[in-house]
């Protein structure tokens, strides 16, 4: 139902005071408005930092978005489902 992941996406985000906050994203032709960011974490490999965001969009599914500090591109990497399983 979600297609292949990870998948490049378009994201509207706010960058302020060193904090990055995704506000909305476009994925497979559908627009998702971010209703809440439940968690954020960084994954470092060498000089490259991947910023990860777990976000909600009105429903129970949690979308994990990733921003690469190297390429400045966004991807959706995972979906966490209410039953505890993940789609990736």
């Amino acid at each position: 139902m979600y297609g292949d992941l990870p998948c490049p996406i378009s994201v509207t985000a706010r960058f302020s005071k060193g904090a990055i906050s995704p506000l909305a994203f476009l994925w497979s032709g559908r627009a998702y408005k971010v209703s809440a960011i439940t968690a954020r974490w960084a994954k470092r490999s060498g000089a490259v930092v991947e910023h990860h965001f777990a976000v909600l969009s009105g429903g129970p599914d949690v979308y994990e978005l990733e921003l690469s500090s190297e390429t400045l591109t966004w991807r959706i990497v995972k979906v966490y489902l209410p039953d505890g399983s993940t789609y990736s």
Binding site: T38, A39, W41, A54, P60, V62, Y80, L81, D83, T86
Partner: protein, 404 residues
């Protein structure tokens, strides 16, 4: 002075519940690694999962039986590490000494006292709840051991304070193994003496336990009486110790030979301490007689041992207490523990009479003449001659002990 201990509640499981709100309030077990939940063991469980009897280290299939409708989540170590880093980064903003104890546990020292500690604890707990979405428990007390015990008592999502005047009232009803650092062996030793609670321990004559437990007795009573243990946090229970032993080529009752081996061990241990830039508080001696009877003991020194002669001094003290003259020895072993990097007390060392250096010179001379591989043989060969008469470090070691 107040000590604070911060401990996250069900840390890995809480991180998972923070990420996926559907899991909040549900029995969650974090299992295994990224590859598979089926083959792994439980590495963390949520508060709700604990009610099913899920324990850390339990294999997946067993946990699944106990909790068929539970939520089993694959671990994400990099996420937990990043959460841990955030906790640490936040804690250091309070400007206090922060010592990470594990991925989700931190000591924070507050020289200003209880009020400062409590206000930091409240601010930090609010921050972790609002920003990270996880809960932490804080314990505040006079010492680090009691602060940790307080945090255990305050779980989950609590702030527990044990003021000095209430120590007895707060902890005496607890079983002895609730005290951080008491394992099942110590608990069993105490139980044989009818000591089951910390209150019973407080009432028990300390010196009756010393023959059974050695220096750990001091740690125990310091802990429950609200003093920071002399060895520092957690020691001598941690694995931080060094030891070395020699099986003699021939069993001997020649005390100079035995002492020469002790000296080599002391020097080896001092070298390892120097390499690690550490000091030790406790010396251990172990002798095995020809009839395979083992004798041993520990000695705690009132300063930080760094040099060969410090260690040798402590070992000779023990040696005099435990060696029965005339008995034949086949193994000589010694070790040090109570290791610390925070060397607080240094003895002034007179360059002219630096016995430790002279001892090292002798050993250096021996190993350069006979080669490091033959140092054991060399020392035995030389022990009655060169060491005892020429340099006489052993007598010197005894002399030092009088001066300390």
């Amino acid at each position: 002075m107040a000590e604070m201990f911060i401990d996250c509640d069900s840390f890995f499981a809480s991180c998972e519940q923070a990420i996926n709100p559907s899991l909040r309030g549900k029995p969650v077990a974090v299992v295994g690694s990224a590859e598979s939940t089926q083959r792994g063991v439980v590495t963390a469980k949520s508060r709700e999962a604990k009610k099913y009897g899920i324990t850390t280290g339990m294999p997946y299939f067993q946990a699944k039986k106990l909790m068929p409708n539970g939520y089993f989540i694959r671990g994400k170590p990099h996420v937990y590490l990043d959460f841990s880093r955030k906790l640490h980064d936040k804690l250091v903003t309070y400007g206090k000494y922060v010592h990470p104890c594990s991925i989700d546990e931190f000591h924070v020292s507050c020289p200003e006292g209880y009020e400062a500690a409590i206000s930091i604890a409240e601010d930090f707990r609010a921050w972790t709840r609002n920003i990270l979405g996880i809960t932490v428990t804080a314990g505040v007390a006079d010492t680090r051991v009691l602060a940790k015990l307080a945090s255990d008592m305050g779980k989950p999502d609590g702030l527990k304070v044990i003021p000095y005047e209430d120590i007895s009232k707060e902890i005496d009803a607890l079983p002895v193994d609730d005290l951080p650092g008491i394992g099942y062996r110590t608990a069993a030793t105490l139980a044989k003496r009818g000591v089951h609670t910390l209150g019973e321990l407080r009432a028990f004559p300390k010196e009756l336990l010393r023959p059974l437990m050695g220096v750990r007795v001091d740690w125990l009573y310091d802990s429950i009486e609200g003093r920071e243990p002399a060895y520092g946090w957690g020691l001598p229970f941690k694995t931080k110790s060094m030891s070395n032993d020699f099986t003699l080529l021939e069993s001997t009752a020649d005390e100079d030979v035995i002492k020469a081996h002790l000296l080599m061990i002391a020097d080896n241990l001092a070298g390892r301490l120097a390499t690690e830039n550490m000091a030790a508080r406790v010396a251990h001696l172990h002798l095995r007689y020809t009839d395979f009877n083992d004798v041993g003991g520990s000695f705690t020194i009132g300063y930080d041992m760094t040099l060969t002669d410090h260690i040798m001094d402590a070992l000779l003290h023990l040696y005099k207490r435990i060696y029965v003259p005339g008995r034949s020895v086949r193994l000589v072993g010694a070790g040090i523990s109570g290791l610390t990097k925070e060397i607080q007390l240094r003895l002034p060392i007179d360059e002219e009479s630096d016995i430790g250096r002279r001892i090292r010179d002798v050993l250096g001379d021996m190993s350069s003449r006979f080669g490091p591989a033959s140092i054991r043989r060399a020392s035995v060969a030389c022990s009655t001659g060169m060491i005892a008469n020429m340099v006489n470090p052993l007598t010197a070691g005894v002399t030092i002990s009088k001066g300390l």
